[in-house]
Symmetry: C2
């Protein structure tokens, strides 16, 4: 059976990122994936979902019996021109002129259109959307920082010499400059303590806050496909406990920011959870916080 054109482009992305994210080729493949995903979804039916999330509305794409993940109606605005403009702004180094709102819509639309397409093409495949999302986010981080990510670092030990620690993406700005640690997940759910555990591990190995943690997540929506209902699964009280007792995470970015987490920065001590679009505007400050 011939592999679906979207999956062929995804295979290409997987191969190409091995040679580095900071390449014109990667942006070209992302364009191609975005275009193919939008074309596919344009031909599918939409069904409204009952949103149990305050202030947000969701729908899903439907193909036969298959229903895609929930899609935020406000953020979803598939528009290839916005992506072309964004790429121009990348070249001209003028991203600051694009509003947070437009950035959020563009990035959300690109990420979710691929994930929703996979939901319709394949059967219960969580791995493909997850891996795509990792590469997608790493591409923008790499471009913003101007460096390639690493996925492993050396640990010195008194007995074995040195051993490799496998990590999520690390962006190392260089000697005596900040190092960013960026786990990327489509959702955290009941596994969210892992974000703090990895920070604690890096703190333990290299010293507290030598690595700045900035996890990036897609959404925390959960869809009941028989009831056609969407909820957000959040544990803000548990997150405050992790931030107080396990380790300190500097920022958590979401493509579709859950309501319950957005409020965590208003309380003391704050835990700053923000839309991913803001990363593009604040990344210079992040290094100096």
């Amino acid at each position: 059976m011939k592999r679906h054109p979207i999956l062929q482009s995804y295979d290409l992305l997987k191969t190409e990122v091995k040679a580095g994210f900071l390449r014109f080729r990667i942006a070209e493949i992302l364009s191609d994936i975005y275009q193919k995903s939008v074309e596919l979804l344009d031909n599918e039916d939409r069904i409204e979902l009952k949103s149990k999330v305050e202030g947000k509305t969701y729908f899903a794409f439907k193909r036969g019996k298959k229903i895609s993940r929930a899609i935020n109606s406000i953020l979803f605005n598939p528009n290839l021109d916005a992506w072309i403009n964004f790429r121009e702004a990348m070249k001209a180094n003028s991203i600051d002129e694009i509003s947070n709102e437009n950035l959020s819509k563009l990035l959300y639309s690109m990420a979710i259109s691929f994930c929703a397409s996979i939901d319709l093409i394949k059967d219960g495949d969580q791995k493909t959307p997850g891996t795509f999302f990792e590469y997608f986010v790493a591409y923008f981080y790499a471009w913003r920082f101007g460096i390639e990510p690493q996925n492993a670092i050396d640990i010195m030990t008194p007995d074995e010499g040195s051993t490799k620690l496998h990590t999520d993406f690390i962006f190392d700005l260089g000697v005596k400059r900040p190092k960013f640690h960026m786990p990327v997940k489509t959702s955290s759910r009941e596994r969210s303590i892992m974000l703090w555990a990895h920070q604690k591990l890096l703190d333990g190995v290299y010293g507290i806050q030598r690595f700045i943690g900035t996890p990036v997540l897609l959404a925390e929506t959960k869809t009941d496909k028989s009831k056609k209902e969407v909820v957000e699964i959040c544990m803000p009280e548990q997150w405050r406990v992790y931030q107080l007792y396990v380790a300190q995470i500097r920022r958590i970015y979401y493509f579709d920011l859950p309501v319950a987490y957005s409020k965590l920065q208003d309380e003391f001590p704050p835990l700053v959870v923000k839309p991913f679009g803001e990363f593009f505007h604040e990344f210079d400050d992040l290094k100096n916080l």
Copy 2:
């Protein structure tokens, strides 16, 4: 559609544990589940699996196109008499007379026969085996310690007064006596850092080693159903890093102990990973280590 008799017994278990684990009723339901699972599996075909695990052989049960999880041929020895003898020994407080080997076989056979039955009855259901396994292990812990588990503890905070921390099973032996924290999972895989994260959290909230961590796991086997091949997914080097830099776990128990983890106690500093059967013999020492 009528719910399968094994699932009816499982539903009953879920209801009954709410009233406590230290009850004759729970043992009766476990007997019933064991008997029904063994009867079901007795009528199914077995297929040999190609074991990529040094020194272990595995097979699986097969029903039509469905293939169960991998089953360790040496440990699997379904035998209702062994369970009746074990219950007699519980009453007589003479578990010490049962060898580690026989304990391991009995407990493994009970746990895996339910999980394998669910693999054949249902379709990709990981939740039912996971929840059953939690209750199954908690029952034996509760009985051994003579106390009921808790699933939440209070955290004092200067501002909010106190807030609840939701945990895995906690067995609190009382004032100025040890408190055990026992996560239970059918496998840990790439989520294993969570075991150390929960220990670090409890250390952070209550002081280092006020809670003694003794996670219990079923196995780390992974079956490639098309190739009919079994591997064990283990990361012993990463585990040593977690134990050195995140927190200290006192014991990790397995029903089917992975080869790579069994060797961790022979190196310095040791990380003690053992067959679950040994818990019954060493639990008095555990409190004083």
